[in-house]
């Protein structure tokens, strides 16, 4: 992404008061659950910015008391051929919740289901908040740092002999 375009994005997002960060040369922003929908709406719908695609959502468990969970959306602009990251820091570590972005990009549907399945982050307003990989009756969130690598014995019910 060139300097000019990054400055334009900074200008357009100036009203939200958010912080920028860098992923090895690719810019990104750090935002909160309250602002993320409005910020992403600007990023997607503004004609000069136009990130038409959301290609991925990365969920992170920092294993700290506060701001334990993060979701990083991976946006791509087909018009300008560049990438942008939107990082959402979720303050509540006991009951992580953030609004869904399915209203903006349909693709987010499965990414958020995956984040819910793996990390237990609940996306409020999501039309289909089910697990995607693990069975429906599985009670744990396997990618959380407190889930052991070997798994929890007995957590997956096996057929009786």
């Amino acid at each position: 992404m060139n300097e000019e375009r990054l400055n334009l994005i900074k200008e357009k997002l100036a009203g939200f008061g958010i912080e920028f960060y860098d992923v090895n040369g690719t810019p990104g922003i750090i935002t909160s659950p309250e602002k993320v929908v409005d910020v992403c709406k600007t990023l997607k719908d503004d004609g000069d910015i136009s990130f038409e695609q959301c290609r991925d959502a990365v969920s992170v468990d920092r294993f700290t008391k506060q701001y334990r969970f993060e979701v990083i959306y991976n946006l791509y602009s087909l018009k300008h051929r560049d990438r942008f990251f939107v990082k959402v820091l979720i303050p509540d570590s006991k009951k992580p919740e953030t609004p869904t972005l399915t209203g903006l990009w349909n693709s987010v549907n499965w990414y958020e289901r995956e984040a819910y399945d793996m990390m237990g982050i609940v996306f409020t307003g999501h039309p289909d908040m089910r697990r995607i990989y693990m069975p429906e009756d599985f009670e744990h969130y396997p990618l959380r740092k407190d889930f052991p690598l070997m798994g929890i014995p007995g957590s997956l019910r096996l057929p009786k002999k």
Binding site: V23, N24, T26, E52, Q53, C54, R55, D56, V58, S59, V60, D61, I72, N74, L78, R81, D82, R83, F85, W105, N106, S107, V108, N109, W110, E114, M118, R131, I132, Y133, M134, P135, E136, D137, F138, E139, P142, L143, F147, L149
Partner: protein, 425 residues
Amino acid sequence: MSKTVYEKLKDNDPGIPKSKILDALESQDLSVEFDDALENEMVLNMGPQHPATHGVLRLLISLDGETIKKAVPDLGYLHRGYEKLAENMSFHEFIPHTDRLDYLQPVANNIAYTLAVEKLLNLEIPERGQYLRTISAELGRIQSHLIAYGTTVMDTGGLTPFLWGMREREKILDIYDMYIGVRFTTSYSRIGGVAQDITDEALNAITKFIDEFPGYLKEMRNIIERNRVFVDRLEGIGYMSKEDVINYGITGPILRAAGVDSDLRKDSPYLVYDKVDFDVPTATESDSLARFWLRFEEMYQSVKIIRQCIEKMPKGPVNALAPKKALPKKEKIYTKMEELIYDFMLINFGQNPPVGESYGAVESSKGELGFYIISDGTGHPFRTKIHSPSFCNLQALPVMLKDAFISDSVVVIGGLDPVMGEADK
């Protein structure tokens, strides 16, 4: 997450509407009458063990007669938790695991992963190593597209093209045997370079292959191009509008078949794609037939790239000389003290990259394949997220299958070309 669907049904949870069939199953009265069998919607379970789903994809299809009213994909039958495994091993140890993601072309996975790690380590690899990676990646693309070609035709009833595709693919696997050392799970791209330099024998084999391959491609095209059964089965099937394709986050040949010339090799060139000349084929029909021929065109472009790479490839080292980041050569470990120490440190404690995040992506045969790696400064990645194209592309399946016939579902899945090892991670 306390009750299962079945338990909710048993408890008469009003949240789930019960259908007539479920009512009938629960009641003791066996004389249930339906108004008309043909007026009822039928739920069909397709997969996970179904040859046309190319793996263990399960589809729940709601049918009205032969028309699909709704399709719900169900994933996770090949979920092995690679993201969890990656957090518990060093960066180097995870490379063989990436082979098992998209097992039809393991090379692209190795490259995507090592690119992400190298970005994190701030490591430049020598030019010859980059050329070798590019050649292997393009061979991998041909390898994967040949499977897509063969299985799509086989799904519509033709077996000969499948065998022809496999015959050519076998030649690539033989080349890999000489070039990389193994036929299938390659682990070719390593942190800081490639596993080994190419031999003259392998180089000659590749040259021979790319000289002959366009002729075989022509044969493969001729056998199928004007076959009426094949064209009728694919034309206009699995249509998805350009807006939908973009909004569903789809990448790769499916996006390009909808008229968007998005290709990471051109958009943000990695390896040596900015030094070779090639085209990005596009189509506008956005149906299964367009996707099929687009993959075909890409194989010609891959041949073109490989030929240029062989011509332009410079002599020199293939691995970066970075003692604390890349593993040294085996001969040196056995004969030199310094290298032995570096090898010991890297194997036991890992690379220890600086704290930060990195994203490395390549254009694999299915679309954008990326790895998002977060490092906390230790020898293990703090988090590795695999962005797999098959997973993202499968999300479009319900849209493509809406109001299609049940027999079209096979063709649409073939057009998407998913690999479940990658979609389920």
